[in-house]
Symmetry: C2
Subunit: 446 residues, 2 copies
């Protein structure tokens, strides 16, 4: 191998050493337990999907961010004999989100229940430009309910996400809520026609990040008359007034239908964990094209951007299944949650590595040390045996390096007495403890 | 989207619905707990590695099985303007095993302890021809110890794997053990020269699968004289005799060194969990080129092939680090373990899905039902709220479809009394239970 091979992971990718892994597991295990308490069941789909499943679901920008798998052997040879284009070189790609694989699964397995409530906690891959806090491999924690238009489902996915955040220790988050039909009606009211509507939603999605002036500029560049953008921003501002939602709901048409659905959603959620966090935000747009009803986004004080989002998408699953399958879902971004929890020091102490380093003296055979370790492990303890019978000082140094709280010293005397000398590596205190009593001794010495 | 898009996962890939996921988690959580009890700490590396890290580590066949990631945007355009070859179209690939990423990590993070004991449970990808029980995405469960040549490490990785198998319920497995130096000395003794040695090891690795005749034929085709192959098979057969290992150990040279290391390994392991399972097998070869010392393979009665393997590889990590870093590891294949456990019905009952379906009658608002569900979830119960207040019979039918053991029926009467009517869906028995007592009632009614 050449000397210049990098030992770093590829750009945008990360290695997780033990302290990272235990923090990630702390979060995912709580999220998993909460999602299960809401009756969701787990689903895991493969990292690799057919490109035909992925392309066209995430907009043109999304298509560009897909990781594509290069053809192999004969297929590659045949492609290279012509003048290949990108589409001639790949037919598989990496998972880009957890929603499209869910839609495929719902279409594929007829045995799934009428209401399929599934959660998924898996990595996704996007070839985005890496930046601080933005990675090319990252985890999403999704809940979705397919098969019902009932707004109980929308309230339940909001509740599941809110409860997960509560149990992680968050209290100051907001779940912004809007409705695609309501928003589209407001866009139309501002005079923006159906052709520019999708464009307006995509640009509007950036409003909280780039500000009103930049939105005006971007829409102007794309041919939306300034007066229409002004009108849209004004109507959205007015819609933020207290009572605006009730006023919309009292009217007629799509605007009223959307508003009434949001009212029902708020009413459903009022005795659940999301109640204190739901906020109507008429400017919330959500970039993805497939949303059809309520849309959600979680924000947290002091964080630019969101830690999760979702909404109702009643047409996506049906694309595969050939019949309408309504659905609603909510996704938490693991990396964002970890980022805030790290900054705010929200992690409890998390156990990593062995509790005991077994230090073997030169007068004890390795087999004897392994026998003692086996007995201690049988008591439920995490025990590492030092690989060599080097001088004790060196073994204790190593125990400190790996952060083991205790050393169990084993010399010929201890072997004869069927004990180990337990040394507390914080206090330095030492005591002879019968081998069969070590776990009990550790519990009582806390 | 076109109608003919397949809803199946790509060839060799699998979706895991809830019953699969909980069985997989049952196994991985036990393996993880056992690995941690041996003092191993977790590591997770990205799915995508630089091809420069992967190529050349798994032999020419391995290189062919790598998933490569197609270049994007400018890089792809530039490549397509010429007459691209495979190597012009990709510089990243998917993880092929967990050992090469470990070697890269050891070289990259100077803060790792002198002896780095890590475990990893992650998927790997190989574009192998799919077959029964062979997949293109599958999980490995690896333990490795880097930084020591002590045969305590070799005994400990064998012990960790043996204990994991014990705790999963296996008792009839064997850990075949051989030594690369010993085997190479026997190959040389048969007259096979250094040039044909690697070839002989690769073909020998298939001996238990294809038999002696096929081995002779394959080596003959590749230019190894028949007499040499005959001699090799004969010397290996003789080496299976009881006492052969002790006889080798009494001699001199590489054969004796290898044999003495195996004797030390067996001695070290004799008071650990692997003791009853270790068997010297002079025909064991292990295909991969990077092994340098003891090699292992786990076999199980009634299973063709192995459920895991490993060995000592003292040179691989050093390729990156520019200094020798000895290492030994053992890998369990999750899919093989699951296959046998399924066939032998070794899984305990595993909880899936909600314990309670909350059935809401038409005279109860959705918010009230969600409030009751929230209270039950607060008692630690897994509860699904039926999305609609359809007739009770239909809701109970759905409860059966999702396998919920209990229904909690909530009508206006129950709401007034602050109770739910708990219905055991197996026995049909029904009882009014105060909302705050449901968890206690469920525990006592078991």
């Amino acid at each position: 191998m050449s000397q210049d091979t990098s030992t770093k992971p590829p750009s945008g990718m990360r290695d997780f050493l033990a302290p990272d892994v235990v923090r990630r597991r702390h979060v995912t295990s709580i999220v998993q337990r909460v999602y299960e308490s809401f009756g969701f069941v787990p689903l895991e789909t493969p990292a690799i999907e057919n490109l035909s499943s992925l392309l066209g679901k995430y907009g043109p920008e999304g298509d560009q961010l897909l990781y594509r798998i290069l053809h192999r052997r004969d297929k590659l040879q045949r492609a290279l004999e012509g003048s290949p284009r990108e589409q001639d070189l790949a037919e598989e790609g990496l998972r880009y989100d957890l929603t499209v694989p869910l839609a495929r699964v719902v279409a594929n397995y007829r045995e799934l229940p009428a209401f399929y409530k599934r959660y998924a906690i898996q990595p996704v891959w996007r070839a985005d430009r890496p930046a601080k806090g933005r990675f090319r491999e990252f985890y999403q924690c999704d809940v979705d309910i397919t098969g019902t238009k009932s707004l109980v489902a929308d309230a339940e996915v909001c509740g599941a996400v809110a409860e997960a955040l509560h149990q992680l220790g968050f209290s100051d988050f907001r779940i912004l809520v809007n409705h695609r039909a309501l928003l589209r009606a407001l866009v139309a009211r501002a005079g923006i026609g159906p052709n520019a509507e999708a464009l307006a939603l995509i640009v509007l999605d950036k409003l909280d990040k780039i500000g009103a002036d930049a939105v005006k500029q971007e829409l102007a560049q794309k041919g939306v008359p300034a007066a229409q953008t002004e009108a849209l921003l004004e109507v959205l501002e007015l819609s933020k007034q207290p009572g605006a939602l009730a006023q919309f709901a009292a009217g007629e048409g799509a605007l009223a239908t959307g508003a009434r659905e949001l009212q029902e959603l708020f009413a459903n959620a009022k005795s659940g964990p999301a109640a204190a966090h739901l906020v109507f935000d008429p400017t919330l747009a959500r970039g993805l094209g497939y949303y059809t009803g309520p849309i959600f986004e979680v924000t947290c004080a002091g964080l630019a951007g969101s830690i999760g989002g979702g909404g109702r998408y009643d047409n996506l699953v049906g694309m595969w299944k050939g019949q309408e399958v309504p659905a609603v879902g909510f996704s938490l971004g693991l990396e964002r949650v970890l980022l805030i929890m790290g900054e705010r020091e929200m992690f409890p102490p998390l156990a990593i590595g062995p509790q005991i380093l077994l230090c073997r003296m030169g007068d004890v055979p390795a087999a004897t040390a392994i026998g003692v370790a086996t007995a201690l492990r049988g008591q439920g303890l995490r025990v590492e045996v030092h690989a060599d019978a080097v001088p004790l000082g060196k073994q204790l140094q190593y125990a400190n390096a790996i952060g083991a709280p205790f050393a169990a010293i084993l010399g010929a005397n201890e072997v004869a007495a069927a004990t180990v000398s337990m040394k507390n590596l914080t206090s330095g205190a030492q005591a002879a403890v019968p081998i069969g009593e070590v776990s009990r001794w550790l519990s009582s010495s806390k």
